[in-house]
Chain length 224, copies 2
DNA sequence: CGAAGTATTGAGACGTCTCAAAATTAGTGG
DNA sequence: CCACTAATTTTGAGACGTCTCAATACTTCG
């Protein structure tokens, strides 16, 4: 049984991408909705499903015992997440806003992958994309200044949120951005103000998280 | 043609592990030596080979334009590195000390993986191990204090250098450790002194990098 | 033993964090 | 649609941790 991934209002063609490849391998896809703030899965829980964001946004994070949080990645429409090798999740995943995902049973995918090299290579591809992101993020977390981190973040979101004309509406709050960049929310706010003051960044209308990138070239200069 | 990976003095059984799996898939293995400080491959160079450390130690790093460096991982005997998905390397790899590696042509491995799901899953496994390490390291770089970072580093090395009784001989210098932990070498040195002062750490003999771990339990308490 | 490289230690500078208050935005019920 | 409240964001001032720069000590190697 197949559920057509594209039979979703507002979904984009590219969503068919990665999990779609797997669906051709006779694996069941189904859709699910999570309300804003809901946990999708917790760290150390058994990894029974693989997910792909259809609409909305998801954050994956790790916690230290005293509450310090590191967000490893934001998952936006089209992204595959929850791909683990062991039997349990290494992150907690939560819906940042109301979010729709497609999911498939991990065991069935793995079962197919054991005999079908194409599927196994698809999984390898998705994992490598995640690895590449993590590698770049280590450089950011280990060696970049707060301004460079925020600039890199804005450029990343500009590239992934596919909004027209350099206008991006961030789904996540300052605390999420801070925990993604290894900063405090105050420092993120100050960096944004600084970019605004330099004319690199503009804020649109009265809506909170609407940000207009005025000068991507100068932003890229900051993202060393 | 096979070169027996175990025909190496001092090599441990586990070295046969990962690349050994692939060797069974009729892929050519050969050995190579790199002198201390030598570059094995550079960032953005074509990724023609996959490597496994037989003896010695390797560091993988990224650079910012102004010279700031982030070491993403140390590769110790048994570790597979240089595994890329695209056609080029995402890190620069250098031998920290005189190092022996086995290597195999990437294209031949990939060719086999396209038809043999077992090999593809082996590659997936190795990539996932790297991903898992990167994910843990993001938490360290984003949210841990200098003392916690150094404690985590010592525990990691204690677990991987397979020396008996909590005694480890670090192959890398303070600067390497610092660039791995997102600190300066002075801060690393101060943290080590602090641990020494607390009696958690002892130094052995006159050799520079000989460190004796006295109290793994108390180290683990610091590694939140 | 001397020279070069590496590690330790100290003192002050700097960037980010903490704590606090004010401003803005979002959510809710009238 | 407005008023009210809660949540989020911005801004400020001072504290704190790590970095920078410099001097000393130690290790390695010829």
């Amino acid at each position: 049984m197949f559920i057509n991934v594209n039979a979703h209002p507002g979904s984009k063609p590219k969503i068919l991408g990665e999990l779609g490849q797997l669906s051709r391998a006779r694996v069941i896809l189904s859709e699910f909705n999570y309300n804003r703030g809901t946990e999708i899965y917790g760290q150390a829980e058994p990894a029974d499903y693989i997910y792909q964001v259809v609409d909305g946004a998801v954050r994956s994070h790790k916690l230290l015992s005293d509450g310090r949080r590191q967000i490893g990645a934001f998952h936006l429409p089209g992204d595959v997440f929850g791909l683990e090798n062991g039997t349990e999740h290494r992150f907690t995943a939560e819906a940042i806003v109301d979010t729709t995902v497609t999911l498939m049973k991990r065991c069935s995918v793995e079962h197919v992958a054991e005999s079908d090299a194409t599927v196994a290579l698809d999984l390898l591809n998705m994992t490598t994309i995640n690895l590449q992101h993590a590698e770049d993020h280590m450089l950011l977390l280990g060696r970049k200044t707060s301004l460079e981190r925020v600039a890199a973040f804005l450029l990343e979101m500009d590239g992934r949120l596919t909004a027209a004309g350099g206008v991006i509406a961030l789904p996540m709050c300052r605390r999420d951005i801070a925990d993604y960049l290894g900063l405090t929310l105050e420092t993120v706010s100050r960096a944004l103000s600084q970019l605004h003051g330099k004319g690199i960044l503009g804020f649109l209308g009265q809506t909170q998280r609407q940000i207009m990138l005025l000068d991507r070239t100068r932003l890229a200069d900051l993202d060393l």
